[in-house]
Symmetry: C2
Subunit: 335 residues, 2 copies
Amino acid sequence: MNEKFGKQTIKFDKTPYIISRSSVVGFKEGEGPLKDSFDMVVSDDKMGQTSWDLAEGAFQKTAVEIALKKINVKNSDIEYILSGDLQNQCAATHYGLRETNIPFLGLYGACSTMVEGLSVGSMIVAAGYAKKVVALTSSHFCSAEKQYRNPLEYGGQRTPTAQWTATASGAVVLSDIGTGAKITHVTTGKIVDKGICDVSNMGAAMAPAALDTICAHFKDTGLTPDDYDLILTGDLGITGSEILCDLIKKEGYDIEKKHNDCGKMLYNIDAQDVHAGGSGCGCCASVLCGHILNEMEKGTYKNILVAATGALMNPLTVLQGESIPTISHAVAITI
Amino acid sequence: MNEKFGKQTIKFDKTPYIISRSSVVGFKEGEGPLKDSFDMVVSDDKMGQTSWDLAEGAFQKTAVEIALKKINVKNSDIEYILSGDLQNQCAATHYGLRETNIPFLGLYGACSTMVEGLSVGSMIVAAGYAKKVVALTSSHFCSAEKQYRNPLEYGGQRTPTAQWTATASGAVVLSDIGTGAKITHVTTGKIVDKGICDVSNMGAAMAPAALDTICAHFKDTGLTPDDYDLILTGDLGITGSEILCDLIKKEGYDIEKKHNDCGKMLYNIDAQDVHAGGSGCGCCASVLCGHILNEMEKGTYKNILVAATGALMNPLTVLQGESIPTISHAVAITI
């Protein structure tokens, strides 16, 4: 029987397996340090589409195709597909997946969406509602930049704490039967808002959400940082990662040696001019579905905790003077 | 054991109960034919907030408070809260619920969100992951109008097929133990896009999604329209409802005598100048959580199928010439 621990964590008795995964990234991401870990690096970030918005959808479509092709599974074998993205009304997802013909659950978790999808997807598989589900997400630098910040042509200056939205998608196939990497725990986050209003410092806004969820995971399960080989956050970047490691020390957990962040890993930060690191739903998705799960298979990591973080404001609410609500969802993966 | 029927439908063995519900609506909705069915009709659609965007969040906050107060349950007794809305990045939800301190799963299903929340919430409760969850959603005429169409001050003319976004929120509390109305089946929809590009005719765009999901429900379960006292769609309005009843006849199901639509019920259509009827996430939410569940308790209906529909485009994709992807999620409720 699947067990509920404490308030926020489920421990699965019948653990869902990650039986396939894919990562598709843009040109810049393909020049970064993780370039060899991705299934596809595209040379045309527009993916042959007429807009950046549709291009992002094409990244999702391609990610699903690759993940299913690897295990020779057809769309009709997938019982649910879970996805969302950063575009208004999650348009990338809806246009990218509209031809899949798979029962669809739309999620909105901003940059936490990869782990929200893994969480709900795992709940569905572990409960026996489905044998195979796909969870995925995407982001695109160009669609995000014009929607959240400035038109690309404006060439706006970026602050040192700003992060670079990844052009990337990552997808996993979860199954009730399998070998290898599997989801053991899901810890669902609460909305956390500590009053940060600076949209060029998402790391600072989101670090308290990661803190809240990671601490809840430890408290709910009795596990400690020692039980994990890696505690991976989604895209706190350099600034947010420092804040998290500081704050969590005050809660009695030292994670500094175990912690890394997808936003710190995706780019060569100085050489690629990404300031505080990568961000966007596709950052955590592509790094997890590429590099991290590769390393788990190689034996580098056995037990990891992945806490993706998302900022839940929109550009308008911030202009209205509101602070940034944030969230972090976590899953524990073991191999 | 919960059972999976066909591709899209789950039949719950241990059915989740609707142990509480609430509906909070705006001034105009409070002048409609269902006015006596709502828990609260507000006189100030701005809810004392500084923007329409935050006002919509306040509708959600109030709906949660009322639903929990009715059964004397505290926020800390709720294990998950599931919500989403139509604002960019679901801002109403995040600002409205940021102080709840309840583990949160963000959904995006446009006007299908109430049923998407009921679906995922029921899956969570029926699987034993939680004893009590809240599912809710909202919409607000003023926040939707400025985001999707024109500034209110512009006074734009509406076409005959246009629908009126409801200012409303509805919430349910689902529990593993209870009496009365319970969720027996969940049928999860696929994205359907039949090429409609007219955002002033959402009924026509969404009817094929309702068709797809309702037919899937009948095929998966072997049930027929005769098994239901009411087949309720979310907000197809007058135009979409006619299209659905026509199209489904061709599939061999006559639902005309059983069908009604929340968008046709919420307003006095002619007198309140709402053209083809109501729409918005809050339309299905408030009509279901108010009038419909009241009528079930009174004995008017014993078995109902609720298929909420959502249009998954955004204003930009439509201006780019894209058609409107849509979805419909269904739950069967019995008392």
